[in-house]
């Protein structure tokens, strides 16, 4: 911890910028992941429809599951790209804390997943005929907090799973049970707000999401050193 906070943050930003630049120049990864999310949404429509009432009621759940399944691929990719190029060792050789790598990857993944979720939200509103609820700022807050929770753990577990055997299975196996509170809070909170939040429960779900995010951002940040060095 000899370096100042500003220097560490500059490193994190450099890692994030590098990841996003790679992604922006090829676009193949992002396009594939978004197409997959849209396909999953469509399949949910087929599985639950064609009754528009049932489809509309299931929209928040379908939205989050599509986002979750698609973003797992994004997390896996963010470390896989490094490993394929033999770049992770180089990244670790640079001076500064390992935590800058976690924060950088986290920021890049957050941008990636944030954009993915934005597209999925718009698509599901169109496909599932959802009207914009009056409490839309709170819904946006839930989406943001949910994205942070998913990304904090997703980035951390991807650092582990991408370097093990059977990584395609291991990442969702590790990640999904951990994300049960995020999924419940995001879906139930969104559902409550869409119905006018008559039971005043949305606030509780939002605090749960915020607490979850804080706890696992901190835990991921603290544990990343040990995990990436192993």
């Amino acid at each position: 911890m000899s370096d100042s906070f500003a220097a560490e943050f500059a490193r994190a930003r450099a890692v994030a910028w590098k990841d996003l630049t790679t992604e922006r120049r090829s676009k193949a990864g992002f396009n594939a992941v978004v197409s997959l999310a849209l396909t999953i949404l469509l399949l949910f429509g087929f599985a639950l429809g064609p009754d528009s009432g049932a489809v509309r009621a299931a929209a928040p759940g379908a939205l989050w599951l599509a986002a979750l399944f698609a973003s797992v691929l994004a997390f896996g990719r963010s470390f896989q790209v490094e490993l394929d190029g033999g770049a992770l060792e180089m990244l670790l050789l640079y001076p500064g804390s390992r935590r800058a790598i976690y924060v950088g990857k986290l920021l890049a993944n957050l941008a990636f997943v944030g954009l993915l979720i934005a597209i999925v939200v718009v698509a599901s509103m169109v496909l599932f005929q959802v009207t914009i609820p009056r409490a839309w700022p709170a819904v946006l807050g839930i989406i943001g907090l949910g994205a942070v929770g998913v990304t904090a753990l997703g980035t951390f577990y991807a650092a582990i799973a991408s370097r093990s055997r059977a990584r395609e299975v291991l990442l969702p196996l590790l990640l999904f049970p951990m994300l049960v509170p995020v999924l419940l809070a995001a879906v139930q909170g969104t559902k409550a707000l869409m119905a006018g939040d008559l039971m005043n429960e949305a606030g509780a779900w939002i605090s749960l999401l915020a607490g979850f995010d804080l706890l696992f951002l901190l835990a991921g940040f603290l544990a990343f050193d040990a995990v990436i060095d192993a």
Partner: protein, 241 residues
Amino acid sequence: MTTTRQETDVIAPPAPGRWRLFGVFAIASLVVAQVVAVVISPPDRDMGHLQKIMYVHFPIALNMFVCYLVVLIGSVRYLMLRSERADLLAASAAEVGAVMTGLTLALGMLWAKPTWGVWWAWDPRLTSTLVLFLLATAYLALRAFVDDPERRATWSATVGILGALNVPIVYMSVRWWRTLHQVQSSPSSLDPEYVIGVRLNLTAVLLVTVYLIHSRYAAALTERAAENRAMAAALGANHGG
């Protein structure tokens, strides 16, 4: 793989000692507890003999948390001291814990079918136990998919700690989601005639849990000691040649 090997604290296999005797005692106490619970205590007024499941269901559910506590302690110890023994202890407790969680679920379902009329209900305690089972499965899968012992130990320790941190949050979120389970059993909510059976079973299951964790731990130590010895021999041969 690429990491340098650290000093290990697993050198020799453990001496068997008196653990076999302890095991016999643990199994015997489990049998005695069943005799007291099934034969001596009266059937429940509403549930009849079905209620006997509670004598094993509740103690196994409680001891499942003992297992996960050992996983947590072993994981923290590993990260602090880099002690391979702590890692193997956590792994052994996780295996026993996963079995206990599976048993808790299975026994609960056997009881639920005649009582609630369904095998499964999306009740907070059931659902969070299932999530706990999946977390334990993921922990064990991670261990199976990583070969380097040091890497496996570090990764599974962090996964174990994060999982343990999440357990209360999972429980709370599922409880807010819905509620159906009957109030948790404790000696104070039971008729005195049942308390002795429960207490005996709690003790017996705890003894069996300790014995199972120890057996698994002793096996893991033996295995690692053999591997370490083989590696030391190979390194020695290299130096000599």
